[in-house]
Amino acid sequence: MAENNNTGSQIRRVLMKGNEAVGEAAIKAGCLCYFAYPITPQTETPEYLSRRMEEENRIFLQAESEIAAINMVFGASAAGARVMTSSSSPGISLKQEGISYIAGAELPCVIINVVRGGPGLGNIEASQADYFQSTRGGGHGDYRCIVLAPNSVQECYDMTMNAFDLADFYRVPVIIQNDGIIGQLVEPFEMHPYKPMFEKLPSKNWALTGCAGRDPNVVRTLYLKPPDGLEQLNRKLDERYKKIQAELRWAELSNCDKADLIIIAYGATSRIAKSAIKRHNNNGQKVGLFRLKTLWPWPNVELVEIARKNKDAKFLVIEMSTGQMLEDVLLSLMDVVPKKDILFYGMGGGWNPTPDMIYEKIAEVLAE
């Protein structure tokens, strides 16, 4: 399935912060409700939307907690509205209860996580240490969320629009996994009108609207009967997740055709790696970049194909964590690349590598 990142003639080039672009994209995609709680480094989104939602005569509510905010998302989504919330890592931890209920009730919604350093309060610097939490479900129970990872303000804008469509199409929560760098980044981007990814979205005939002229709709999260009721739900969800895995794997490949070394990264680290890779390419080194745009589903088929094309290539995973996505790389390549050729360069929550540091690391790997 292709992304929809451009269309229409009314394109304006504007300068905006990632956190604001996310808000404007929500407005353009027809988000009726936004519920959130302030937390650094995502607070520009509620600030932006407190004004814009009012201007558009839509619903903005600053909730008493992250827990209340996600439960408002649960209610609004059940009522049939397009709805979004945003937060940063400690706040996303609080939201996990509600995300589990939303996933269990098969409801669509969009959740922005501008990841900061952890564990605990951690710090307010950029981080990618919420990878496990986002890609493995996060709350209790057996479920997944679609996870999109922008690395520019343009993609903050485009992917937020895509997120609403994907949520409605598959009836699952969609997470935009941002980080403190991309959320705070100010750069120009093309603000285009919203164009849906799908010609037709499934009808929301399950929504709570009062049962006039129909049987009641029940948004359930408890399955005590029949005895296998919950099993049936989990099988149904599993089938849906497999369908999403088959249809939605986004990755950006550069110089991956004849490479000695492939860098694997997403979000801010992919931008930083890009500058380092460019310097090596200019020196004649064959270094490619495999940049993930979906963290779940993980583009494993695409990576395996690259590994098959570049038989002796090494792979270097770069993350702002102590090695979380690394596990998905190892799982993807376990049958095609010897483990010793899969390398890792990362730093724990709350600090980021510089282009020079990545340049040096690449040089070191190439020299081995």
């Binding site: 009726l32 998302v73 609004a76 009522a79 709570l208 609207t209 009062g210 006039a212 948004v219």
Partner: protein, 245 residues
């Protein structure tokens, strides 16, 4: 022959899963009667709580959402904002509303959300088998206060109507009981009032209903009625705590 009383049309079940002597069934019946009298079943969206009333959707024939423990006022807030023309009913117990969901109820009340809340207070966690609740009386024995609740270390019972009355955006707060026919009739009038307030756009209205839990209290249904009359009412005085209409 004239039919004087019959099962409300909005109630879909002939029997509930509530224990013998439990008060939830009486409250259910009253809700059903008021829904029928006001003709609001088809515009109603109900939040089911965690606790003994969790499967309310098997009993009331209307749109229902099953909420996480304590979160119904937040869920209901969003539903009412999306559908201001619909009728949103929040049904909660004392563990749900006065312990795990204190933040949600206080802030929904403080925002003056135009919703109707039915708060069933039976001074115990019924569904999990009789543990101490925020409204458990001093001296009351439960499975987690086996020697009786003490002020020291456990605090005093939380009086929800009195607490919410301090918030200026609450419009109607009343505490009733269902331990006698007279009080059941009063409770029905209070339910009607909090429903009517939402329909008239008055704002946040709540009725707290003292209710029997003989199984959780480990007494007979008759003793449960006596417990409300002789002890609970002393701690939770009945009456209207706020009426700003």
């Amino acid at each position: 022959m004239n039919i004087v009383k019959t099962q409300p049309k909005s109630i879909t079940t002939e029997s509930t899963k509530y224990c013998p002597g439990c008060g939830h069934g009486i409250v259910l019946r009253l809700i059903g009667e008021v829904i029928d009298e006001l003709g609001i079943r088809e515009k109603m969206i109900l939040t089911a709580p965690v606790g003994c009333a969790v499967i309310l959707y098997d009993y009331i024939f209307c749109d229902v959402i099953e909420c996480a423990h304590g979160r119904a006022p937040a869920v209901g807030t969003a539903i009412k904002r999306v559908h201001p023309d619909k009728f949103v009913l929040i049904y909660q117990g004392d563990g749900d509303l006065a312990a795990i969901g204190t933040a949600e109820i206080i802030h929904a009340a403080n925002r003056g959300e135009n919703m109707s809340v039915i708060f069933v207070n039976n001074a115990i966690y019924g569904m999990t088998g009789g543990q101490m609740a925020p409204t458990t009386l001093i001296g009351q024995k439960t499975t987690t206060s086996p020697f009786g609740r003490t002020i020291k270390g456990m605090g005093k019972p939380i009086r929800v109507c009195e607490l919410l009355a301090t918030l200026e955006e609450t419009k109607y707060l009343e505490r009733t009981s269902i331990h006698s026919v007279r009080n059941i009739n009063k409770t029905k009038a209070a339910i009607r009032k909090v429903f009517q307030n939402q329909l008239n756009g008055i704002g946040f209205s709540l009725v707290e209903i003292l209710s029997m839990c003989p199984v959780g209290w480990k007494v007979s249904p008759k003793e449960a009625i006596q417990f409300i009359e002789e002890q609970m009412i002393n701690c939770f005085p009945l009456g209207v705590y706020k009426d700003t209409e």
